[in-house]
């Protein structure tokens, strides 16, 4: 970056993409500490409105930035700030998973992806808000209050990773980490006008990701551009011996794919199940335009039916709560976190019960009860067992589809951002926000959301979802990059109101 391109003041530093930021630091145009301070200042200026962060780690961020400036770490994202979803454990830094039950807990270890980001010189600014234990689609189920959508502070930023997406959308960080169990990276990306990718299951280590549903959870990148997402994905991805379910193979060449926008001859399948009733007309309009743009770029468009996708939501709401009911059993006041009712007379079981009653919110309790029921003797076959069969059928739908096409596409979520309070008391309405994102989690393949414009009916961002076969993550980056280039949506946030 030459002198004339140098940002006029530090306020402009926060508007750079991750790739630009890293390049500026590497060129010596700006220091990593200056970049970190600019973002910390931005957080101080706007986050009381957005409430993206639960904890800002100023000291840790500046210490890491100094290491970058001292030349101790290099790499394509060295010195780039990042907002970390509070479901990823960080040594010595509070980690709550959005729950009261973990309030005050400072983990004694770092997640694998935290180690990898530190080694890559990424500067973690702090921990971001989320629905409690990643259960929700609006970030309203956080025990620490909701996050607001930077496009309209009266609306939700989606969820569960609303904090990371809102932070990225409001220029508090160019990068974020989310986790996606049924859409928790992609749906917030869609409604905040940002990019969010769920890698292939097993493509990114889960060691240190506080489990919601082990067979579905996957960490992934949040960013303002497809390239930035790919760069971050490349840093955190790859085999981890600490995670048995981690894939022992190289990460697909996603960065090259994101730099290319080449879709000539690519066969793109439009999922016929994801349209019609319940879909906001403006969302479908923008989606159709994006499909038309891809066709114009030389892609071949095919309509593909995935009949079992209709059963994905109910199957998901048996499998995920079943695993959650077991994963969340460890929060019992015995070793860490909240402890309630330990008056010296109460037995361990009473303390456990009182703590869990006080420490978990309603949505978490709802899912624990649901999952406990689904795994119970006499009901297991009808619920958990049946859901696993549906999961197999959905995977077969994907397999059959990928014999015809290279990727599948759909709207990321049926509507644009909904208002705070609108669905919080209506679980079914809330669950529908993940209608289009859940199939990829059940299948295990990668999926990504890229902005495809603003809905004409409300002026809010619309997300375009690209789903690819297992371990073909590069395909979704290629298609997403084409959408971004064709529609110019890497600049969509310029249309957001000034905070």
């Amino acid at each position: 970056m030459s002198g004339s391109d140098r940002p006029a003041d530090t306020a402009d530093l926060v508007r750079l993409t991750a790739a630009q930021t890293a390049a500026a630091i590497a060129a010596g145009d700006v220091s990593a500490v200056e970049v970190a301070e600019a973002h910390l200042d931005r957080i101080a200026a706007v986050d009381d409105k957005v409430h993206a962060f639960l904890h800002v780690d100023r000291d840790g961020a500046l210490a890491q930035a100094k290491r970058v400036d001292a030349g101790e770490v290099r790499g394509p994202l060295a010195g780039v700030p990042l907002a970390l979803k509070d479901v990823i454990v960080t040594k010595g830094v509070p980690t709550t998973a959005g729950s009261r039950i973990l309030e005050g807990w400072r983990p004694p270890y770092d997640a694998t992806i935290v180690d990898r980001m530190r080694a890559a010189g990424i500067v973690v600014l702090g921990k971001t808000n989320m629905d409690e234990f990643a259960m929700g689609s609006s970030t309203e189920h956080s025990a620490y209050g909701p996050t607001h959508n930077p496009w309209d502070l009266g609306r939700t930023p989606g969820g569960s990773g609303g904090g990371s997406s809102a932070a990225v959308a409001s220029y508090q960080a160019p990068l974020g980490i989310g986790t996606d169990t049924g859409g928790s990276i992609r749906q917030p990306a869609a409604v905040t006008g940002t990019v969010g990718a769920k890698p292939t299951y097993g493509g990114v280590s889960r060691y240190g990701l506080i489990a919601f549903s082990s067979s579905l959870d996957q960490a992934g990148p949040c960013a303002r551009t497809v390239l930035d997402a790919a760069l971050l994905h490349a840093v955190i991805g790859g085999h981890d011996p600490l995670d048995s379910t981690s894939i022992d193979a190289p990460v697909p060449d996603i960065v090259t794919a994101a730099r290319s926008a080449e879709v000539v001859g690519l066969r793109i399948g439009v999922v016929s199940q994801f349209k019609g009733d319940g879909y906001q007309p403006g969302v479908l309009a923008r989606f159709d335009e994006a499909v038309a743009a891809l066709e114009k770029l030389g892609a071949e468009i095919v309509e593909v039916s995935c009949p079992h996708f209709d059963y994905a939501l109910p199957a998901y709401y048996l499998i995920a709560p079943s695993e959650a009911s077991s994963n969340l059993a460890r929060y019992d006041a015995m070793r860490y976190g909240l402890r309630v009712g330990d008056d010296g007379a109460a037995g361990a079981e009473e303390v456990m019960a009182a703590t869990r009653d006080a420490g978990f919110g309603d949505e978490v309790k709802r899912r624990i009860i649901l999952g406990t029921y689904a795994l119970s003797a006499g009901y297991y076959d009808a619920y958990y067992g049946q859901a696993q069969k549906v999961r197999t059928l959905i995977a077969r739908d994907f397999a059959a589809a990928f014999e015809q096409v290279d990727v599948l596409v759909s709207p990321t979520t049926p509507t644009t951002a909904f208002s705070l309070g609108e669905r919080v008391d209506d679980p079914m309405a809330m669950y529908l926000a993940d209608l289009c994102t859940i199939p990829s989690n059940l299948y295990g393949g990668p999926a990504l959301s890229v902005p495809c414009g603003l809905s004409p009916d409300d002026g809010l961002p619309v997300g375009f979802q690209v789903m690819a076969p297992v371990q073909a993550d590069e395909r979704m980056y290629r298609v997403a990059a084409a959408v971004e280039v064709a529609l110019g949506t890497d600049r969509i946030l310029e249309g957001a109101p000034t905070l």
Partner: protein
């Protein structure tokens, strides 16, 4: 036949009497802590006896975000056990989560195996004292799971949770690999139910030790048994309601627990009551069991496949390689041992039954002649163990110490009586044999001391001396007694007798 169980009356409510009217059906679930250097799902040490909560990490503490990675050695050991027990090895199976809340379980679920065990359908042929034929125990399954932590309940009288004021938890044990070996119901045991239960656990222990997969120390809990017992009227084929006696931690206790449950359940059934299906606790001191939690309301463990672990798929060629590496089974090992040391089958049976076969072998290895080694254990130390109410292996004396004492006896340094005194002193914790001898000044009286004592005895008992002179050899006894008394028992009685006869008749 068993030397370790106190004799009971042979009345109608005795164990023997009960088994004349009822058939016992047994089930044994044996938990074996594997001897891997590290835990099942993390790299923490498994060494026994460390300071509480020093061998822990995020994984075995179940901290949020942590994930298990299976220890390949534990799979290897489990497959070896399955093969040695003649099981089929699954070509594909999964771990499962067993969900229940307990403070010593870090995740409030235990990673175990449920409907897909690693090894199934095997058997173990067990030699039973007094039976010409071995008894074939059918093995239903062998599976791998993680151990829990250990609770210490403080402030109560019993050490159990009931009545305790607080509890301490040590997670060092949490995550240690545990193999569970489950038998099919043992039927047709007739009057030998308790003996067969003990013989099975003994044989299993020897087999596991031979495999080198566990140190199988029952007193440290690395081998522990749950004993299921039910009774049905003689000739019936419909099993009765069973009790499950937990954590029976010695061979002797296995036998006693079966005996007690047979007697108890017989009395319940005779009174026209029904046996309650429940967990029971075994009390080492009294040899009795008492009611634990009732299992009438069966706990629902909500098993489901562990999603954090990939399925196990042992490679067939690897399994065959392990099969080829199996060591000699305990029966063949015993036959070879008998042959090498000139023992008869009955000797082996007696030593096995008394639980001293390994101790005898170790004593021989430490240099003692086989007959002496056998004599020391069977002829003396087993009796001491019985008096103390412990297993011979739990006596505080090592095979090497026994061999040393035996050698000192053989070279005339100690009389047999002194040698036993030395053994007792070693067991009492007084130190090594040589140190004990020095401390007490125990040694065979020297010739000079002996001659002086003999002269003093003759002078002191002129009447007895006269009788001996007169040819009454039976009168020599009191004189020898006086010599022994004068030398504090350290005299060689045979030599004293020779000297007295020399003096009076020579």
């Amino acid at each position: 036949m068993t030397t370790t169980t106190p004799a009971t009356s042979f009345g109608p409510n005795s164990y023997e009497g009960t088994l004349e009217r009822y058939d016992a059906v047994l089930g044994l679930e044996t938990h074996v802590e594997l001897g891997t250097a590290t835990k099942l799902f993390c790299g923490c040490s498994t060494v026994f006896g460390a300071e509480p909560n020093t061998q822990v990490c995020p994984v075995c503490l179940g901290l949020p975000g942590s994930l298990p990675v299976t220890n390949a050695k534990a799979i290897d050991y489990t497959v070896r056990i399955g093969l040695a027990l003649n099981c089929s090895i699954a070509s594909w199976c999964r771990f499962a989560r067993k969900n229940y809340f307990y403070p010593d379980m870090p995740k409030n679920y235990q990673v175990s195996q449920y409907d897909e065990p690693l090894c199934v359908d095997g058997y173990l042929d067990v030699p039973v004292p007094g039976r010409a034929e071995t008894y074939r125990v059918l093995i239903e399954r062998v599976h791998l799971e993680e151990d829990t932590g250990k609770s210490l309940h403080v402030g109560g009288a019993t050490g159990r949770i009931h009545g305790a004021t607080h509890s301490l938890v040590d997670y060092n044990r949490a995550g240690i690999p545990l193999v569970e070996i489950v038998t099919r119901p043992l039927v047709g045991t007739g009057p030998d139910a308790a003996a067969i239960a003990r013989a099975y656990v003994t044989e299993l222990r020897d087999l596991l030790r031979g495999l080198g997969v566990s140190d199988v120390r029952m007193e440290q809990g690395s081998l522990r048994c749950d004993v299921n017992v039910s009774l049905m009227p003689r000739g019936s084929s419909e099993f009765g309601t069973r009790s499950e006696t937990k954590n029976v931690n010695s061979l002797r206790s296995v036998e006693r627990a079966v005996r007690f449950e047979v007697e108890r359940q017989g009395a319940v059934l005779d009174a026209g009551d029904r046996v309650v299906q429940e967990t029971r606790h075994f009390h080492e001191d009294s040899g009795t069991t008492s009611s634990g939690r009732s299992k009438e309301e069966a706990q629902d463990y909500r098993y489901f496949p562990e999603p954090d672990l990939v399925p196990l798929a042992p490679d067939a060629a690897w399994v065959e390689q392990l099969r080829a590496e199996l060591p000699e089974p305990p029966g063949a090992q015993r036959a070879r041992f008998a042959e090498a040391n000139g023992f008869a089958t009955l000797d082996i049976e007696q030593m096995t039954n008394a639980g001293v076969l390994d101790l005898v072998a170790e004593t021989i290895a430490a240099g003692a002649p086989p007959a002496k080694a056998r004599g020391w254990w069977l002829g003396y130390l087993v009796g001491r163990a019985n008096e103390a109410g412990v297993e011979a292996s739990e006596l505080a004396i090592t095979a090497a110490q026994v061999a040393r004492i035996s050698a000192l006896e053989d070279d005339g340094t100690l009389t047999n009586k002194l040698a036993r005194q030395v053994a007792d002193a070693v067991i009492a914790g007084e130190g090594e044999p040589d140190a004990v001898i020095d401390a007490h000044g125990w040694k065979v009286a020297g010739e000079d001391e002996l001659v002086a004592a003999v002269d003093a005895a003759i002078a002191g008992q002129p009447d007895a001396a006269e009788k001996v002179r007169g040819g009454n050899q039976g009168a020599v006894g009191p004189l020898v007694g006086a010599v022994m008394k004068a030398t504090g028992g350290s005299a060689d009685a045979k030599r004293a007798r020779e000297l007295i006869l020399e003096r009076l008749t020579g």
